[in-house]
Symmetry: C2
Subunit: 266 residues, 2 copies
DNA sequence: GCGATCAGCGGCACG
DNA sequence: CGTGCCGTTGATCGC
């Protein structure tokens, strides 16, 4: 496929606001929040009607260069400066520009030397993904099953904002103490512990009372567990199943200090 | 394009370990770390030689469903069960399976009802992106210019592991105190403050001495600044430029408590 | 719009 | 391998 044909195909796709696919040998340059250079090689370029601009190599999930929705795409044939008359383009430049929130601009330039394929497609699609097993779902489930953690635990609020973030679940225990519960849908790391610790400290200072903190996650790393214990916080292993219309909590087990095993309360 | 032709095209691409592109009307189902359903609509499917599997809608940067490198892809024509004899497939199933680190498996099933386009491409590309302006680069630059923060500040180590994470820069000030420096390439939020706070507390406890903590970033949110001050930590506004072979630090300015303005030290 | 957090985060580097 | 953490993170939701 000639570069001139590719240029036309891309322009047609841009005008018609279609999905554009280009496969070819190119260099890529990016300047914006960071800067990058990618030397010659074969890549896939995807341009979506909303301005999304993706350069993919032949491996890995992530695009090697990209531009988010809202980018303005311009395609331009490059002619050999040695030839005074413009016969056939020797390169094809596909450029995406975009304004950052700060007002600064960023751009990508993909310079094709050879195009294997370029075509645009009309994609009719107004559907939205339905996702199950998110943290929000688990959190909602857990709030209605706080007795799994301990009897007498009463839910107060979900997603309550404190000055230093958003608490997943706020509850009160049988002795009237506030309990901050942080839910993680996957293994908890140090960040989860610092997060919970932040909420507990903030709340205990503001209300001037003792506040408990409980981390609930399917796993926790060893150093996170140590840090949690040092901070006087509690851990419950959260076991759950993902089902189609809605997830399902299998159980919660308190992890005992210094033991590799669990002692269930249920 | 018939579903049978699409099936052949995909199979050829899989056999030849090529990049495969499919555009068509499909449903998508996913079960694994979470679960999802996406009803009928037109999408782009990208399959890479390494098993990467991407389903893109006509908007947004992120793939709506995906599978990472290592997935095993199987394509299978589905025939109408009412017809005893297999004439033409009524659907085309493209399935990606993958084993998680935990040992559990996850899979996506893309069910095509109609295929506009299906073709595979050979992508020769062994290049790697060169990226400028990363945090690592800024951190290295800053370590050699600690005097920008204050005179007498001496670098000790970069990327030093403490029990609770990895310290960007460890230094010693003119009075012999340890200084933990956390560098962020973009605006700092609460997480950056908790991160720094974590390192400082850990180190001060382990060494049983006073440890200073300094956050360096181009911006910081108001609540983060408040939290930083409450924790007795310091903030320096980091101004930098991204240049081609290497980034360049323009300056560092200490942010004064309670003022919207800066008082430079330089 | 900014701000905080989640994500099926992905990817990397180091122990 | 896990653990930690950066990312041109992106995407969402609340203020």
């Amino acid at each position: 496929m000639t570069l001139a044909d590719a240029c036309t195909a891309i322009q047609d796709g841009l005008r018609a606001s279609q999905l554009i696919l280009v496969v070819g040998r190119c260099k890529v340059q990016y300047v914006g929040r960071a800067a990058s250079k990618l030397s010659e090689g074969d890549r896939l370029l995807v341009i979506k009607p909303d301005g999304t601009f993706l350069v993919h190599q032949n491996a890995k999930m992530a695009a090697i260069n990209y531009q988010g929705p809202g980018a303005r795409v311009v395609v331009e044939p490059i002619f050999d400066p040695n030839h005074s008359s413009p016969h056939a383009p020797v390169q094809l430049s596909v450029r995406a520009e975009r304004a950052l929130a700060s007002g600064a601009k960023e751009f990508i330039d993909v310079r094709f030397y050879e195009v294997q394929f370029a075509q645009s497609f009309s994609l009719k699609d107004d559907t939205h993904l339905k996702l199950f097993g998110t943290e929000k779902e688990l959190s909602t489930l857990l709030m209605h099953d706080l007795h799994l953690i301990e009897p007498g635990l009463q839910p107060l609020q979900r997603e309550s904002d404190v000055r230093k973030g958003t608490i997943d679940i706020l509850a009160r225990d049988s002795q009237g103490r506030l309990v901050v519960i942080e839910v993680k849908r996957r293994g908890a790391g140090l960040d989860a512990v610092t997060q919970l610790s932040r909420y507990v400290h903030d709340l205990s200072r503001r209300r001037d009372c003792i506040v408990r903190g409980i981390l609930c996650s399917p796993e926790i790393t060893e150093s996170s567990m140590r840090m949690l214990e040092e901070a006087g916080l509690e851990y419950y292993k959260l076991s759950y199943e993902i089902a189609n219309p809605s997830a399902h909590i299998r159980g919660l087990q308190k992890k005992q200090k210094g033991l590799g095993e669990f002692a269930g309360e249920q």
